[in-house]
Homo-oligomer: 339 residues x 2
DNA sequence: TTGTAAGCGTTATCAA
DNA sequence: TTGATAACGCTTACAA
């Protein structure tokens, strides 16, 4: 900012007190007598005083901001989590910084901390290199890093996540209930932690139901995209024997799959039952509407933000709260049918 | 930040120069002899020095950040513009702050400036109250506000926008080419500036083509959502005489419309041709795939960011560049067909 | 080309 | 409960 308004000194003069008292009134009103407090507040009002954040941050040795690191800002899935995060910090006086890990270089990334640009970080990217994470952790002694949605196995940083395994199991249970026993899975990106959890949930559920896991029917999506689903559909089409149902690692995969099948004249749910994961907005209006596992993205964001806010105010995360699991919900729609 | 690294003084000692020289080396390398520059850089490397942004900002009387105000962070449309913005600032040393105007109160909003939290603003929300905008403009003498995507009529702030009228005209021309003459329009939210432009484009195109604008066929969507489209579909179904094609104010409206029509046994494109606006990711995989007007959202963000960055470095926006129009593109797909 | 030193606008310590 | 005052870590005249 260029246009500079009144400074604390002017307020002090106006109120007939010292700058220290003005400062106290604004940050620790209890330390000040009611009379002075009123006088100061009136002077603030009259002068239109606004605190200078840079000065405050310098003096308090803080950044006054938290950083949200996303793997892909253009992905609506992440931006909805971001929305939840933002809603929490909107009422604090911390600013929310964002950065996309997509194009970012390693040293830039850790620079965010060493630069004193952020007092804490919310990581939406479980794929962050361990070296970077280590450096982040080093420069933030009190563990001011929280994972949301994704996380990094082998680290003990607090994280907020959906019940991915449970979701997969609900999906399979639903398909079994509809009479399916030949069930496939289209996974997400191979090294993604969500992919692994959902796959593990799928396998556990299949075993529990006494169903055979056919390796050819468990295909690698490569990523969570529409194209991944379309690609998988082509693989299934070429098989001699196909499953009657597939559980997909994401809604986009599911929609890409259905869309490609449709092009080839194969109908969902008549020829194939399909379950997605996420419940993105369009799922309800897709043709057919998509049966899926709903993740509460806003809540993921809100919880992560609340956790970080707690840490910043000195509250340590209790050991049993280190992993906060958010329930998911099976939403039955038109893409699944009895066999 | 708590963990405090080396300060500029330590680097100076290490390099055997004054703090002023270190500062100069880092921000104005040209003012320093090559020999000293190398010594300083080596000292920076050795000590692991990182600048303290708060101190720098205080001294330079700046915020070191720009603010992006979005009407709805959860909306993928906006977050993709945000992605473009972020990519530009990632290489500057300005941070990108975000705030959602959705829940924000007026005084909080202007507070972002008076607080010296941001050196400039990119506004994605044309619906911002004029009072707020005025106050923003007052506290930012050099017009460090840029509109992206939406804008506020009657203000002369720089803006970057898609060619909404042109897009509407392309849509109508396409439908006419397919033999349609009974064409309706499902508009977006009534007071939205994009809605008005697209409606104006629709009307102009219809007149140019010598076609009648049937008032009943121009319906108010209320917003840009799927539900708005579904709601409009119900209205059309009840009509005695219907158009053979509709141009929609957004892809979501178009998909909601198609989805609802499908439920009622009315087929797109056989019974209805539908054109959307935006070309969101799913448009290509929707069933039927959606003919639409593609907006380059990333470019909108990039241009807005570049414009603001220019203003922050003192370059005024040339009068003829005050409105930067980004071309849109008709994407022909499966939701439109010859009559 | 480099160094000295005076702030930038707060907050926190200490004393009153 | 309040006030003086010394930092916080950097940049930038001005001087050398």
């Amino acid at each position: 900012m260029n246009a500079k308004g009144p400074r604390i000194q002017e307020v002090a003069v106006e109120a007939g007190v010292s700058t220290a008292t003005v400062s106290r009134t604004l940050s620790n009103p209890d330390l000040v007598s009611e009379k002075t407090r009123e006088a100061v507040l009136a002077a603030v009002e009259k002068t239109g005083y606004r605190i200078n954040r840079a000065a405050q941050n310098l003096r308090k040795r803080q950044a006054g901001a938290i950083l949200v690191l996303l793997p892909n800002l253009g992905n609506p899935f992440f931006s909805q989590i971001l929305s939840g995060i933002e809603s929490v910090f909107a009422t604090s006086d911390l600013s929310v910084l964002i950065a996309d890990t997509n194009g970012i270089k390693q040293d830039q990334l850790t620079g965010y901390f060493r630069d004193t640009r952020a007092d804490g970080v919310i990581l939406l990217d479980g794929g962050i290199p361990r070296a970077v994470l280590n450096e982040l952790a080093q420069t933030t002694p009190d563990n001011r890093i929280v994972f949301a949605c994704e996380w990094k196995p082998g680290t003990d940083l607090p994280s907020v996540r959906s019940d991915n395994r449970g979701g997969a199991q609900q999906a399979i249970a639903h398909l079994v209930q509809l009479g399916h026993s030949k069930i496939g899975h289209i996974a997400g990106p191979r090294n993604n932690v969500l992919t692994k959890e959902r796959l593990a949930g799928f396998e556990a559920a299949m075993r529990n139901q006494g169903l055979e896991i056919v390796p050819r029917w468990v295909v690698d999506g490569g990523d969570f995209s529409l194209d991944a689903g379309a690609q998988a559909a082509r693989q299934f089409i070429e098989m001699d024997e196909r499953p009657t149902a597939v559980f997909c690692g994401s809604d986009l995969i599911a929609m890409g799959f259905i869309s490609e099948m449709h092009k080839r004249g194969i109908s969902v749910p008549n020829d194939f039952s399909v379950v997605g994961f996420d419940d993105i907005e369009i799922a309800d209006r897709f043709i057919p509407s998509l049966t899926t596992i709903r993740q509460n993205r806003t809540q993921l964001g809100v919880l992560a933000a609340t956790t970080l806010l707690g840490q910043l105010s000195g509250r340590a995360v209790a050991a049993q709260d280190n992993v906060q699991l958010v329930d998911v919900l099976l939403i039955k729609r038109g893409s699944t049918a009895a066999i």
